[in-house]
Amino acid sequence: MDLSRSQTRQTIITLGLLSGALILFTGAVGMIAAFHEREVVNDFITLGQLVLLITPLIFGYTAANRLGMAGEAPIVALGGGIIIGLLTALPTTIMLLFNSDEFRFLLDWSLRLAPFVAATAIAWRMHRQNAETLTVIGSWLLVAALLGIVTFSLALIFEVKGELRSVLVNINRDWVDVVTFDNRRELLTGILVFSLASVLAGFLGSLCCYVPRTPRRALFYGLSVTLLVGAFGETVRLVLQENLERDTLNQLFRRDTLRQNAALGLFVFSTVIGYLWAAFGDQARQGFQNLGGQQVQTTRMIGTVLFVALLLVLPWLIGRTLSDVAVTIGLFVLMGLGLNIAIGLAGLLDLGYVTNYAVGAYILAVMTSIGPLGLMKGVFSFWMVIPIALLAAMFAGFIFAVPVLRMRGDYLAIATLGFGEIIGKLAISDWLKPLIGGAQGVQAIPKPIFLATELKNPEQLYYIVLVACLITLFVSIRLNNSRTGRQWMAIREDEDVATAMGIDTARAKLLAFTLSAATGGVAGAIFAAKVGSVFPNSFTVFISINVLSLIIVGGIASNPGIVVGAVVLIGLPELLREFSDFRFLLYGALLIMMMINRPQGLIPTKIVTHEIRAGVKAKAAAGD
């Protein structure tokens, strides 16, 4: 398959502009400046700079790969990498010029000229396509007028407001510092440095295509391990702190960042390991596959036992701060597994899952609190209330499910979203204030007590969450293969056909909602006990969206997928504080990208993958 010259040009320009737009966007929403706060390798590179360099690298690699596959000469592919580097720097450079005092006139002029240029370009294109003269003139006038309104308004805004950053808050000095590599004073030098770095990264990216496979993979492993360890330096240090001497630690880290020689050592080490894996990994995998069924099972068993053992000792390995994160992840695993029954198995898109979480939390709060709002101070312990919270959440799930049983798809989603909002508003209202405290919430919730020890540390609470997760996981795996589970899957695929097969859809759906609510209640109760107080602000639509995202990203109906999804989506933002501001921005982007490119999720189940393929095939056959 050979590409024509115009296609080659188009590939390079599209990818380059995409990469440039990405860099400008991340800068304009403040991501680059925020990530700059985190050093990956001490005094060498920060996370923000890494984003600036990795983006052209990846796009350069993609372009060269695509062009190389299409049979273009290496020189074209490498040239493509360089052009992509340049195009990556272009939008940000323009913004830098607009932002500076000396080149501000460029902004004014481009705002003045843009309507005419754009209108002429569109009209010219129409003229080339043999449109009627009157239509061409009409379109020119229309486009010029509409764009003119926008640019006039923009010019007015910037005229009155002065600097760009009084409107676009993140086009500020910090951002300029990062993208010019600390050359704010000599802007042109800064732009030169930035462009050169970007071109170099693009070129290296395209060069990577021509490195043989084994060393390329080795380099990839080495680089990613080093950068990940560097980026999560704080976390890694916390883990090592539990197990290493202080002096050794200080040789590796300077405060929370990797020292340069430590990074170099890690890079060399992981590259060597990566090389060995890339060279001999296939053989090992082959060997494993050649083993008999009995041996594979034994290996699996040993793996599972080791994994469970690791989970059991985890709090001692990772220390207090990380245990706290682990508890949060566990709560979301719990909710994810629960919501998965509704969304994943039965295909009921429930956006009001926070309802169950809130019910569980408030039940525990009101029943055990020793504050003024506690109903039976000291009578009930945490352990007695957990089943009550579970039942209450199931009851709430049941009550809210009955009205929506007849609804399908998007109507169901919006109705449940409405329920979530209703619960939120009720929790904060004056009406229920005597009962659950309104905006002040419920305070003074005692910690759970187990065998006369108060479980007040995250390390101890971790075990409660772990047990709850394991039980839920077990139930969930069993449900997957049960008769009910199959009924749910039938409903997910086609409700009408399921009814025709004799499935009582109302009953099955009700069961799905009720069961899925149960874990939400438990998660809410544990959350309330962990925090020690309950506020209505904790129960927003964001909880529901969090849970939904982790299910979608991990893989719908896939239990391991949900665990991975929770670790990635909940754990990462907790560990990388710079991330957490952009959490929902990234979730949103992730949801869109997953739906377009990989709707089955990261760790899909076989059935779902198969169904999605079959659906696509059926659509193709129907010519839709």
């Binding site: 403040g30 309104i149 926008v150 993140n170 609804m407 109705a415 969206i545 949103g588």
Partner: protein, 354 residues
Amino acid sequence: MFKWKTDEFSWVDFTIDVLRILIVLAIVVGSWNTLSEGRISFAQWVNLFIAGLSQGSIYALIALGYTLVYGILLMINFAHGEVFMAGAFSTVFLAEALNRTGFLNQSPVLAILLMILFAGLVSMTVAILLERIAYRPLRGSPRLVPLITAIGASFFLQYTFRGLYGSGFKAYPQVKILQGALQIGSINIPTVQIFVFASALVLMFGLYWLVERSRIGKAMRAVSENKEVARLMGIDIDWVILFTFGVGGFLAGSAGVINGMFRPQGVNFFMGFIPGIKAFTAAVLGGIGNIPGAMLGGLFLGVIEAIGPNLVLAGLGIPGANQLKDVIAFTMLVLVLIFRPQGILGERLSEKKA
């Protein structure tokens, strides 16, 4: 209305009927109590009604975007509330600039027109990009897929604008000519409410003309009727869909400016979420896919939201009833979805679409 099945007893129907009776009882008892106490005078009721109408006309403008898209693609553009936010949030800077130069109070008509156009164009751009980038690749996939994409897009847009403009609230400046009030007997109608209602009417009339009278409107109706046949008639489907998103976006953006003039508490990145759900309620209320229905549904929802808490909830002895305004709206949504998913004016809604 009550459909008792003779052959078998369906407990779902039974529960829903019980729910229906309970709601009717609550409304009757609440209204009876309020009206018999007479705490709120007739003039106050009229004021509430008119305030509800103007709030409702904003919902109607947003609801039109949902309905237009649903009519053509049978999909709920969940991110439409964020399209509304995009226009409103971007234009607040223009409003400030116009205010600082004094233009806003010198020739308010021109200034507000500029703001509406600017907001409309910004929202239009956002809506078009959304369609082009997020929704077009998914056309024809299972129904949950575009919905989840739309949820993702909604949060992506919210936090993009938070990143661009900051997370604080920004208020639209006050316009002098909208400050006064119109006195009719004992009824006092703020000018701003008249302005909101009138400009919404103008926009809706414009849309009606566009859809019913213009060439592209004819194409839109044809595409919503049957895509394949429309394609055979030589209509560029992609362009029509893009145009529909654009028109919906324009209306939402202008609604953003009108809303900004009307509600002084200001705009921020999260402002589109709740109005988005409410406008969706309005669209369903009027019959989704039905343009006059969306207008009617919006006005209806606005009025219910204004009167409901004072009439029903206060009558039931619930303190702070006005805090529960949103609860009324969302309950309304659920009730409509349960009892009349085809909406007030929805006639052509088949089982497949519901």
